[in-house]
Amino acid sequence: MSAPRTAVLALGDDALVLSHRLGEWAGNAPVLEEEVALANIALDLLGQARTLLSMAGDEDELAYLREERAFTNVQLVEQPNGDFAHTIARQLYFSAYQELLYERLAGGGTDDAELAALAAKAVKEVAYHRDHAEHWTLRLGDGTEASHRRMKDALEGLWRHTGELFRPVEGLDVDWAGLDEEWTRRITAVLERATLAVPEGPRSSPWAAGAGRQGVHTEPFGRMLAEMQHLHRSHPGASW
């Protein structure tokens, strides 16, 4: 049985878009070690994206020639980098989700062997991403007053994009409510250690049109795609 197209596109787009955002840090990181670490994470995600998109078709056609409304990544990953705290908060929320999801896909959440194999391989990479994000959440939360405030703002600012993570993805046999519970438990534990509170606002938008999984994105995403796709689209049919 071949991989369910909606599922591999959704997960592939998540990885592709977050990798792109992390790539924007190159040359701008707060310390040289983070240039290396952020690039590592970006490269892992790009590798996952390429495998996933290739299960659904031609990776470059899918990445470069689809319109914004055809991308089904969650809105969380397309959020601009902001300051380092925003990047870490985004990474903390997303990597905790991705790790839990891949664990489930590697352990029976899909009957597609290719997708299960990708999940089994990627879950090890993602465990490192989560570890990295947790380390920095602790440092920033429990560092200085200024870093605590920035981390708090970042966690609160991105909170409204976390509910979407647990909307069922067609073709995946996952207990989404259970995933949400486990995610919340883990995030709460990390934030507590970091002397930070779990944000309280709504976790999703009331808009009936839906969100990222329905191809409904936030405004910065269009500009991100314009930049990403411009060169490829300027030379139709060329190979690189």
Partner: protein
């Protein structure tokens, strides 16, 4: 005020150290961090290693400029990995400088305040995707030509860092060549893009070897100390000799009408280099000097609160390394 030194210190002490140092250099042995070395040797190494480290991290900018626009996912992965490698090279080199007593913070401060330089090549802009290929092929290529002899440099930590760096630089060079080859054999527009990039990067690459031998102020002493093994002009010639046949296989031309094989010398002759451009760029008037340094300073300043947070956290929790460096 005069200080009277005990007889032993004035006599055998420093003199014996110096003899041991000279003997080690003469015997092609490695000088290690705990060995005695002349102050001027140490200062020369710190200056050179720092400039090299700064070049690695400033050099990330022109290529990072294309990460978000890379035209295929395969090329994007290669480019991201390359820029990451350059950050890694910066790390090895700052560590090598630390073995000489120069801290990374102090060196970065000198970079940011303009008291230490980085390679002028990175003061040129990357205007098209083909520039990524031209940098890999020519700039990493020139860096390898410069750095392979440094793997035998007399200072151990620098020589060992260079071994690792050179391996990766040669990947970069091949990837750049392969990128240009794909463009050269691609559509007409792609071929033109590749040719334009090579036209713009050729001469600045030749300048990477530094001023001609008769105008190079640090060369003689560095050669005597075996920090440097070949003169600027020798290395430049070696690079030209390597590039000409490669340009032919790329199907691209080099922008020098005087370039031709000289049977007698066994080398390619090439036209005169515009040293006034070199000196202007070095003086800070290149197309991107200000932009590169501003961006570097801004990244550093904007990251200050992060480094402070990591240090504060380390103090509270008794972590060994206070500046966030353990996190990676």
């Amino acid at each position: 005020m005069t200080t009277l030194l005990p007889e032993t210190d004035r006599g055998g002490g420093p003199g014996a150290h110096e003899e041991a140092f000279d003997a080690a250099i003469a015997a092609d042995e490695r000088i290690e961090p705990r060995d005695w070395m002349p102050d001027a040797y140490r200062a020369t190494l710190v200056r050179q290693i720092a400039q090299h480290a700064h070049s690695e991290i400033i050099g990330m900018q022109p290529e990072a400029n294309w990460i978000t626009r890379a035209p295929s996912l395969r090329r994007k992965a290669i480019l991201m990995a390359k820029v990451q490698d350059e950050a890694g090279h910066g790390l090895y080199l700052y560590s090598a400088a630390e073995t000489l007593g120069a801290s990374r913070d102090e060196l970065l401060d000198k970079l940011h305040s303009g008291r230490q330089k980085y390679s002028s090549i990175f003061n040129y802009p990357t205007l098209t995707w083909a520039d990524v290929g031209a940098i890999g092929w020519l700039v990493d290529g020139a860096a390898i030509t410069n750095q392979v002899p440094l793997c035998r440099c007399s200072y151990g930590p620098y020589a060992r860092a260079m071994v690792r760096v050179c391996k990766e630089e040669s990947f970069h060079q091949r990837q750049g060549y392969e990128l240009l080859l794909a463009l050269s054999r691609g559509t007409e527009a792609q071929h033109a893009m590749a040719q334009d990039a090579v036209d713009r990067w050729w001469w600045p690459s030749l300048m990477m070897f530094g001023p001609p031998d008769d105008a190079s102020k640090h060369s003689a002493q560095s050669m005597a100390w075996k920090i440097k093994r070949h003169s600027n002009d020798e290395l430049r010639q070696r690079f030209v000799d390597i590039c000409v046949p490669q340009a032919e296989s790329l199907g691209l031309t080099l922008p020098d009408p005087e370039l031709r094989w000289n049977e007698e010398r066994g080398h390619y002759d090439f036209g005169p280099i515009d040293w006034s451009e070199f000196h202007e760029v070095l003086r800070g008037n290149g197309p991107c000097n200000e932009q590169r340094l501003d961006r570097r300073r801004r990244a550093h300043e904007e990251g200050a609160w992060v480094r402070e947070a990591a240090a504060a956290y380390a103090r509270k929790h008794g972590e060994q390394d206070g500046d966030g460096r353990t996190a990676a």
